[in-house]
Each structure stands twice: as structure tokens, then as C-alpha cells.
């Protein structure tokens, strides 16, 4: 027997085409097309694209897969959070100021200790040795080879060996590091 809903098909499809259905009407139309084969066939005859409304909803994840997924997301956010904390510590002006003050205080302390009187606080100085006096030959290519590793993140300084068999010294310097 033809249902009352079937009589409204023409009107609903026409307004659907113009995207003028209310949410309730749209739900009603979908529900009806899912249960009434005659109307579904008629609707597809009028608009074959309606076929895609029947596309399967993808399978939901299994409980195990969902658990893995959520753990993955939380691990990623934890990593991002740690990275952000580190960045903030680098960028925090208060820390920079504190470090500068600490450095200034240390220098002042050393200075005061040196001039404190009687030479008691005199700081022993390292002995300076001139390379020429010791006969150490400095090759012209001792100037560090510099390689920039992208942007302002890190720089590589390479000091080539001065004698055969001597190891090459390489420094990787983080420009963002607070000293």
C-alpha cells in the first residue's frame, strides 16, 4: 500500500534540489528512502547523485585501534608540550635577565676580590705561550670551515687537523642556547 509519505516525494525532492528542506524534512526524506524501495528507485531516477547518500559509513575503529589512536594523540601532544616548554624557557625574558644579572654579579665579585687589598685576592693567570716562540706552525687553512644547518638553529665549525694522523675537531653550536 502506498504510504502518505510517498505522496510527498515530488515536493521533497524538488525542494531538496534547491537545498530548501528543513532539517526535520531532510531526516524524514532520508528515513523514507531507506525503507521504501519504490520511492528510492524513483528518487534515483530523478537524481542519480542521491546514490551517494547510500554510501557506507566507514567502519568505526575497534576499541583497541581507538585506544592506540588516542594514546598516539596524547603522546604527540605531550611531546609538543615539552618542546613548547623548552622554547618558552629560551624565549622568557625574565630568565635572560636573571642570567645576565647572575653573570654581572659574578664578574663584579671577581673584580672586587682581585682589588680587595694586599694582592691577597689576586687571581692566578694562565701562562701565555706564543705559538711562534714554541715553533708551532699554523697552516693557513686553520680558519674554521663553517657550515650552517638551516636558519638560525645550529652552526658547525670544523677545525682541520694540523698534522697527519691528528683528529679533526668539529663543534656544533646551538645559537639559541642561553649561556
Amino acid at each position: 500500500m502506498r504510504e502518505l509519505a510517498c505522496d510527498r516525494l515530488d515536493d521533497l525532492l524538488a525542494r531538496r534540489e534547491e537545498d530548501r528542506l528543513t532539517a526535520a524534512e531532510e531526516g524524514f526524506l532520508r528515513g523514507h528512502l531507506a525503507t521504501c524501495e519504490a520511492c528510492a528507485a524513483e528518487a534515483l531516477r530523478r537524481d542519480p547523485v542521491l546514490l551517494f547518500a547510500r554510501a557506507a559509513a566507514p567502519e568505526p575503529l575497534s576499541a583497541e585501534a581507538r585506544g592506540r589512536f588516542v594514546s598516539g594523540v596524547l603522546a604527540a601532544t605531550a611531546t609538543a608540550k615539552a618542546g613548547r616548554r623548552l622554547q618558552r624557557a629560551h624565549a622568557r625574558p625574565v630568565l635572560r635577565l636573571a642570567a645576565s644579572l647572575l653573570l654581572a654579579a659574578s664578574v663584579a665579585g671577581v673584580w672586587l676580590a682581585r682589588d680587595g687589598g694586599d694582592g691577597a685576592g689576586e687571581v692566578p693567570r694562565p701562562e701565555l705561550v706564543a705559538a711562534a716562540d714554541e715553533g708551532i706552525r699554523t697552516p693557513p687553512d686553520v680558519v674554521p670551515a663553517v657550515e650552517d644547518l638551516g636558519g638560525d638553529t645550529a652552526v658547525v665549525y670544523q677545525f682541520p687537523s694540523t698534522r697527519p694522523g691528528e683528529p679533526t675537531v668539529v663543534f656544533v653550536v646551538d645559537r639559541n642556547a642561553d649561556i
Binding site: 524524514f28 551517494f52 568505526p60 581507538r66 589512536f69 598516539g72 596524547l74 609538543a80
Partner: protein, 218 residues
Amino acid sequence: MAMQLVHVRRAPQEGTTIEPRDERHLAALAKAGDEDAFAELVRGRTDSVVAFLRRMLGDTEDARDVAQLTFLRVWENLPRYDPSYAFSTWLFRIAGNLAIDALRSRGTRARTLAESFRVVQGGLLAASPEAPLRLSQEEVRRVFEACSSVLSEKQRLVFVLREMEEKESREVAEIVGCRESTVRNHLFQARRLLREELKRRFPEYVPESHRSAEGAGA
């Protein structure tokens, strides 16, 4: 006798039972640094986001990868979340943008896959009026994958949200970030292109009367 309209919605999938109001509350807690609240949001929305991305990208693995990225972006941008919007709208907006990026970055590969599907499927089903109705839901999904390669990323986004995710035009407009009239325009264009592509590549699924009517009109 007045007809009673009954709003039939799909049954919520497992894991998507959080009410929108609760989601806003959870989002507010997460914004304040509550990690449990964020974890609950992720658990509650995983299935719907992965399903949406699966429809957008046509590939389960890609969908999961982009879904993870989506939640990471959500977490990063929580301080900017405006609670006057539904959390799901904001979430789908981020997911939709990332899906568009993913589609753009792989463009050619998707088209190649879609073309190969036509070769495999072609000629298996003889043209018959009931052919479209006999297709399984999974086959319909694959036909969509094959045909939707003609859509632009935005047309595909609007079509998936409107016709497959069953969201209202107003919400689609909020997700896409445009006016409702623009959503309608994208939707009409998407339907027209899909109709043509379906007729060209899968004529066995297009009723003959429709084929001849369109052919006469052309």
C-alpha cells in the same frame, strides 16, 4: 490529516556520545590545561573525525594520520577556541582544512587510483533499472571515490559534509568559513559534476530515462 514529520538521524557511532554542551565544557577545561578533559574529547570524537576524513580522503591510513594531526592542531589552538561555536564545528573546520591540504598534496595519485577502479569495475554489471539499488554500500562508496576526483577540494568538502555527514547548510558554512549561499553554489556544482561523471564512467548506474532526458537536453 496533517502529516507528522519525524526526524530520523543515524544512530550515533560508538564513542561519539558526548553532547555538544558537554563538549564545550570539556573544551573549556582542556583550554585551562586539564589533560583528562582533552583525552575525553579525543576519545569521544575519534570515530566521527576518522569517518569524515575517510570520506574526504578515500583511504583509511591517510584518514588516521590526518585525524591525529587534527587533534594535535586542536590541542595547539585550544587557547584560541571560541566557545560561542560548537566544538564539533571548530573541530571539523580544522579537519576539513587539513584534508584539503592532504588532497592538494597528493592530487595526481588519487586520480590514478580512481581511473584504475573504473577499469576493474567496468562491464561487470549490465545496465538495468535496479542496478544502483543492488549496489552494496561499500560499492557505492567506491563509486563515489572514483567519481569524486572531478570535484575541487572545496566542492568535495561541501558535498561530503552536506550529503554524507548530513550536516545542515548553516553548519557547513561555519565549517568551511563561507556564506550559506556559497555552500549552495558548491553543492549544486558538485552534484552536477558528479552526475556527469557518473553518467560518463558508470552509465550502468544511471537510469536510462535520465540518460536520454539529459542527452536530449544537451
